[in-house]
């Protein structure tokens, strides 16, 4: 019987499915194991097992020498080499000996010379982390000392260790509200770069020196531009993403891409149909976070959500967009309940707190227990907030409208760090990392508590 050995088969194509590889090398697909998963699990594998690396087009399998020779002339195969004896090279990575293969890889900086993973036949190499998207880690492997490294990005990276805060330029004092939510403490890692945040409001002043607007639309009849003829939308936009420059203020996510979706008139009001159209535009244009500092009151704690809002939000959620809404300013009234659309499923309702972290008297409340999903979920600063206003200046406003964009900015920060996370996962992360306020745990006023960007990003 011909002698069998372990061979490394490299395919012409870089991405090869296990089914295709099984057909090429003539081994049952049932013996195939996804290489990275098996290595990561630390599971034992036998000689008959085939390790297949789909993303890099490589299979490691036990083959007869005749079969290996045959494969060398196969059109789909670039190279067949005998597996080599594994030996240690350079410094062993810290922490080796326990945990999974990838856990043991640690930081790329921790193994600058590379090392061989025992009995695997793969060399992990130091690599340039910055070439991978946020939320993923770059790994390079070399299947043989003479082969060039093959690099790829793996999702689900552990949260990076927090670095020192990066203060904004000295000419720009840090607003108390930005400091309170810890946004400045994550700008050394994320700023919302590449994340599309839509402000569904009265528009945004495109000429403001502290704002960069990437685009927009007007759904208000008679208003042909998304320019802000009220001031409210510009103020909210500044809280989300005023630039980190030397003028004005700085927002929670100063690197995000702002979009102006004008759904409210210069009088500060708009019809449901205009708002629905704006939400649909956000869905069609790949918006990641929709910030909606608008709404209407309800007359009872168990009032029904307006179904059209819920339908539109669910579509946005399915498209990957988190929808965040102001809880309402009816806290002082006899009907202090979270209003529409914040009370609808698919919306994350935000309450307002002041500089002392006390709930603003005007902030509408849940509780969710009375109406299913209509309660406050999280709190953010919303009293005496200084932000951008039309004309290039700054102004102070109060309302749950001002609290909402803080959370929208934080969602943008998380989206940059974890681009594959769903809206629900970002929402859950923001809630789970909030600093508890009021009664322990969730409560009708504060929800999960005060937004904490530092904990949300760094854990």
């Amino acid at each position: 019987m011909a002698e069998s050995k372990r061979f490394v088969v490299t395919y012409v194509k870089q991405e090869v499915t296990s089914a295709s590889a099984a057909r090429t090398i003539g081994v049952s697909k049932t013996r195939f194991h996804e290489g990275m998963s098996l290595l990561e699990s630390d599971a034992e594998y036998e000689a008959k097992d085939v390790l297949h690396f789909e993303e890099i087009g490589v299979t490691v399998a036990t083959l007869t020498e005749e079969k290996a020779e045959e494969l060398k002339s196969a059109a789909a195969v670039a190279e067949v080499v005998e597996d080599f004896e594994v030996f240690a090279l350079g410094a062993e990575a810290p922490g080796m000996g326990g945990g999974s293969f990838f856990d043991n890889l640690g930081s790329p900086d921790s193994y600058p010379q590379g090392y061989w993973a025992d009995d695997v036949g793969i060399q992990a190499l130091a690599s340039d982390q910055d070439t991978c998207p946020p939320g993923s880690r770059r790994f390079c492997i070399r299947l043989a000392p003479w082969m060039p490294p093959i690099c790829f990005c793996l999702p689900g990276a552990p949260s990076p260790a927090p670095g020192p805060p990066v203060p904004p330029p000295s000419n720009q004092p840090l607003p108390w509200n930005i400091k309170m939510v810890g946004a400045d403490q994550v700008w050394n890692r994320v700023t919302g770069s590449g994340v599309k945040v839509a402000i569904l409001d009265t528009g945004i002043d495109d000429d403001h020196p502290d704002l960069t607007v990437s685009g927009g639309v007007s759904m208000v009849p008679g208003a042909t531009s998304w320019d802000d003829d009220n001031g409210h939308g510009t103020h909210c936009a500044g809280i989300v993403g005023a630039r980190n420059n030397t003028t004005g203020v700085v927002g929670v996510a100063p690197g995000c891409d702002l979009y102006a979706v004008k759904v409210l008139s210069g009088a500060g009001s708009g019809r449901l149909s205009w708002i629905l159209a704006g939400m649909g535009w956000a869905e069609q244009n790949g918006i990641d976070v929709a910030s909606m500092s608008l709404g209407s009151n309800v007359n009872s704690p168990d009032a029904e959500c307006t179904l059209a809002y819920q339908r539109a939000a669910e579509r946005l959620n399915r498209a990957g967009c988190l929808v965040i809404a102001a809880a309402g300013n009816n806290g002082r009234a006899n009907n202090p309940w979270v209003g529409n659309p914040a009370r609808c499923a698919g919306f994350m309702a935000v309450a307002a707190v002041d500089k002392n972290r006390d709930l603003a008297a005007f902030s509408s409340q849940g509780p969710a227990s009375l109406c299913g999903n209509c309660g406050v979920e999280i709190s953010a600063p919303g009293v005496s907030i200084n932000s951008t206003v039309p004309g290039g200046g700054l102004g102070v406003k109060s309302g749950t409208s001002m609290a909402c964009p803080h959370v929208s900015g934080a969602a943008a920060l998380l989206k940059e760090l974890h681009p594959t996370w769903t809206p629900d996962r970002i929402r859950a992360r923001l809630r789970a990392t909030a600093s508890d306020l009021g009664a322990p745990g969730d409560d009708p006023g504060y929800g999960s508590g005060l937004l904490d960007c530092r904990r949300a990003v760094f854990g």
């Binding site: 409210l264 009001s269 019809r271 449901l272 629905l276 535009w281 059209a308 529409n340 309302g399 909402c404």
Partner: protein, 80 residues
């Protein structure tokens, strides 16, 4: 469908109402014309949703159609 609204329309069958109509999920290909609607407008970027101005009586008839999931006033929202 909101019972308060149904009563309002029944009590005021000739009054005009600005509404948003939401079709059922499995009826998004339904033509508003086939539902007897006139003067309707689709809501941009929202399939299965229409705005219209209709009398209370017409809305009551529409509310009975299985293709219609909800009818709600084209209500006003404001800055908060």
């Amino acid at each position: 469908m909101n019972e308060t609204l149904l009563k309002l329309w029944a009590d005021n069958p000739d009054a005009s109402n600005d509404v948003v109509i939401v079709l059922a999920h499995d009826s998004e290909d339904t033509s508003p014309v086939s539902l007897g609607m006139v003067g309707y407008e689709p809501i941009p970027f929202q399939s299965g949703m229409f705005k219209a101005t209709m009398t209370g009586a017409a809305l009551l008839r529409l509310a009975e159609r299985k293709e219609v999931e909800d009818i709600t006033p084209d209500e006003e929202a404001t800055i908060l």
